[in-house]
C-alpha cells in the first residue's frame, strides 16, 4: 500500500531539519563538489587501469597471437611433424616457464605440447579463454587461444598469467584503497565547502532577518576580501541605503503635504463657516465661495504638481519622448513670461542658438523651463534682470539656464532646493508650494541629466541650469 507523502509542516522536527539540510544550497554545492571530485578520480583510475592492468592483458594477447601465427606458418610448411617439433623447441626455450601449448590430432590424441587435455570451453576456432590449469600440484590462471588447423588438427597456445593476475590483484587493491580515500576526501571537502559557504553567507542572512524584523539600520558586514560575497554584501548595503533614502523622502513628503495643505484647507473651511454664519449678505457669501474655490484650486495644483513629479521620477512618460527642437519651445515659454516680466518692470533677455536638437518630452520640458522662469521672476525685484540661455555641451548634452539678479540662495539652501515642498526662509512670504524646482529636477533626471544651482555671475542672484542628456 503506498504511503501518503507527509507534509513538511506535520513532519517530525528531525525529519524537517533533514529536509531543510538536503534542500540547502550549501548541501547542493557540497554534493556537486563531491560528485565532480569522485568522477574525476574514477576517470583517472580508469585511465590508469587501462594503462597498467589493461596493458598486461593486451601484451599477453599480442604475444599469443604472434606465437600462433608463427606456429601456423610451420604447419603450412611442414604439417603435423614440423609443428610438433616447433612446439617442443619453444617449450624447451621457455625460461620463464609460462608457455602452454597443445597440438591434438584428428582423434583428439595429444601430438605435442604440455597440456594433458584440451581445455573445456575452447571448442570454437579462434576462441579466447581464461581459466584454471593445474601446474606442479597447484591451480593457476591461464589465457589460451585456440585455432582449428584443418583435417581435425587443433592447436592451443597459452600463457600462465598467474603472476600478472597477482600484479593485477595488487593494482585492484591499490585502486580500491585509493577509491576509499577519494570518497573520504570528497566527503571531507564537501563538508568544508558547505561550512565555508554557510559562514560567508551567514552575515547577509542575519542582516536580512534583522531588517525583516524591523531594524532598518543594520548593514551586511564586509570582510574586505573583494570577492563575490563582499560584492553581494556591498550590493545589499547599497540597496538598503537607497531604500532608507527613499523612505526618508516619502516621510518628508508626507510631512510636507500634511503641513503645507493644512493652511489652505483650514482657510477654505474658515471662509465657508464665516459665509454660513453671515449668509444674509450675498456679496460676502460669493466672496467666501470664490476664496474657497481659489484655495481648493491651489490644493489641486499642488497635487497636480506632485503627480507630474512622480510621473517624471518613475519614467512613466517616457513613451512621450520624441526628437524635438528646443529653440521654438523655449521662445514660446519666454514670450509667455515676457509679459509678466514687463508688467513688473523686469528685463527678460533671451539668448538661444538657431537650433537645439534633443530627444525628450516636449510638455514636461516646457513646464520645467516655465518653472525656472517663474521662480526667477518671482524672486527678482522690480527693475531686475532675468536671462534665459540654452546651448549644446558636447554632442549629447544640452543646458537650459535661467539666471536672475534676485537675492540668490545660500549653499545650504541650494543643496536642498530640489526637495519637495522645500522653501528657503527668505521666501516664506512669497506665494508658492515649494514644488517648482522639484519638478525641474525630476524632469532633468528623467532626461538623463541633473539640476545645477549656482550663484549668478556677477552676484547676487541665482543661476539654475537644467542639464539634459548623459554627461
Amino acid at each position: 500500500m503506498p504511503v501518503p507523502p507527509v507534509p513538511l509542516d506535520d513532519a517530525p522536527a528531525g525529519w524537517a531539519a533533514l529536509m531543510r539540510f538536503l534542500r540547502s544550497a550549501g548541501f547542493r554545492f557540497a554534493l556537486l563538489f563531491a560528485v565532480v571530485f569522485i568522477g574525476a578520480s574514477a576517470l583517472f583510475a580508469l585511465v590508469l587501469w587501462y594503462a597498467t592492468a589493461g596493458s598486461l592483458d593486451r601484451q599477453t594477447a599480442a604475444a599469443l597471437r604472434t606465437d600462433t601465427l608463427g606456429l601456423m606458418e610451420r604447419w603450412r610448411e611442414g604439417g603435423p611433424g614440423a609443428l610438433s617439433e616447433a612446439v617442443a623447441e619453444r617449450l624447451s626455450g621457455d625460461v620463464e616457464n609460462t608457455a602452454i601449448y597443445l597440438l591434438t590430432g584428428p582423434e583428439g590424441q595429444r601430438l605435442a605440447g604440455n597440456l594433458d587435455r584440451w581445455p573445456a570451453g575452447a571448442e570454437d576456432d579462434g576462441a579466447w579463454i581464461t581459466g584454471i590449469v593445474e601446474r606442479d600440484g597447484s591451480r593457476v590462471e591461464a589465457r589460451i587461444f585456440t585455432r582449428d588447423l584443418g583435417e581435425g588438427y587443433r592447436l592451443a597456445v597459452g600463457r600462465d598469467v598467474e603472476e600478472k593476475q597477482r600484479l593485477r590483484a595488487l593494482l585492484a587493491e591499490g585502486f580500491g584503497w585509493s577509491a576509499l580515500g577519494a570518497v573520504v576526501f570528497a566527503m571531507a571537502g564537501a563538508a568544508v565547502l558547505r561550512r565555508a559557504l554557510e559562514n560567508r553567507l551567514r552575515p547577509a542572512a542575519m542582516t536580512a532577518r534583522a531588517i525583516a524584523a524591523g531594524d532598518l539600520s543594520r548593514r551586511v558586514p564586509v570582510a574586505g576580501r573583494r570577492d563575490e560575497f563582499d560584492r553581494l554584501g556591498e550590493g545589499m548595503n547599497d540597496m538598503l541605503d537607497r531604500i532608507d533614502r527613499l523612505m526618508e523622502a516619502v516621510r518628508g513628503v508626507s510631512d510636507a503635504i500634511a503641513h503645507d495643505l493644512r493652511t489652505p484647507i483650514a482657510r477654505a473651511r474658515a471662509k465657508l463657516e464665516e459665509a454660513l454664519a453671515d449668509s444674509g449678505d450675498p456679496d460676502s457669501l460669493r466672496a467666501a465661495m470664490e476664496q474657497g474655490i481659489a484655495d481648493l484650486d491651489h490644493i489641486s495644483r499642488v497635487f497636480g504638481a506632485l503627480l507630474r513629479i512622480a510621473e517624471a521620477e518613475a519614467g512613466a512618460r517616457r513613451a512621450a519622448f520624441a526628437p524635438l527642437d528646443l529653440v521654438p519651445m523655449l521662445a514660446d515659454v519666454a514670450e509667455f513670461y515676457g509679459a509678466a516680466a514687463e508688467a513688473r518692470g523686469q528685463a527678460l533677455s533671451v539668448d538661444l542658438p538657431e537650433r537645439l536638437e534633443l530627444v525628450g518630452d516636449r510638455d514636461l520640458l516646457a513646464q520645467a523651463a516655465g518653472n525656472l522662469l517663474d521662480n526667477a521672476l518671482k524672486f527678482t525685484p522690480e527693475g531686475g534682470q532675468v536671462r534665459l540661455t540654452a546651448r549644446a555641451i558636447g554632442r549629447d548634452r544640452v543646458e537650459i539656464a535661467v539666471e536672475d539678479s534676485g537675492p540668490g540662495l545660500s549653499p545650504e539652501d541650494r543643496a536642498r532646493a530640489g526637495e519637495r515642498f522645500f522653501r528657503a526662509d527668505a521666501s516664506r512670504a512669497t506665494p508658492g508650494s515649494g514644488l517648482g524646482l522639484s519638478l525641474v529636477q525630476a524632469v532633468a533626471r528623467q532626461h538623463g541629466g541633473e539640476l545645477v544651482l549656482q550663484e549668478a555671475s556677477p552676484p547676487p542672484g541665482l543661476r539654475a541650469a537644467m542639464l539634459l542628456g548623459p554627461g
Binding site: 624447451s92 625460461v95 581464461t130 581459466g131
Partner: protein, 85 residues
C-alpha cells in the same frame, strides 16, 4: 571503484566447470627433465661452459625432487647453447 576492480578480477570464466577435470601442465616433471636433457645433448654447444654445468645442476635438481627448478635450469642451458651456436 573497488567494486569495479573486483568485477575485473571475477570477469574471467573458468576453464573447467565443476564436472570437467582441470587440464594439467606436464612440463614440470622428471620425464620432461629427461626430454630436455636429450634435446640439450643433441646441440653442438652442449659440452661447453657454462652450458654443461647448468645442465648438470638441472639434472641434479630434477633427480632430487625439484623438477620445476630443474626444468628451468635445463631450459637456460638450452638457450645458452643456442646462443653459443
Amino acid at each position: 571503484m573497488r567494486a569495479l576492480a573486483f568485477a575485473f578480477l571475477l570477469a574471467a570464466p573458468a576453464l573447467a566447470d565443476g564436472n570437467e577435470p582441470v587440464p594439467r601442465v606436464t612440463t614440470d616433471s622428471r620425464e620432461y627433465c629427461a626430454e630436455l636433457a636429450e634435446r640439450l645433448a643433441a646441440l653442438p654447444a652442449s659440452h661447453g661452459e657454462p652450458v654443461r654445468s647448468m645442465a648438470e645442476e638441472g639434472r641434479r635438481l630434477c633427480e632430487t625432487g625439484h623438477p620445476r627448478v630443474g626444468v628451468a635450469k635445463l631450459r637456460r642451458a638450452i638457450r645458452a647453447a643456442r646462443v653459443a651456436e
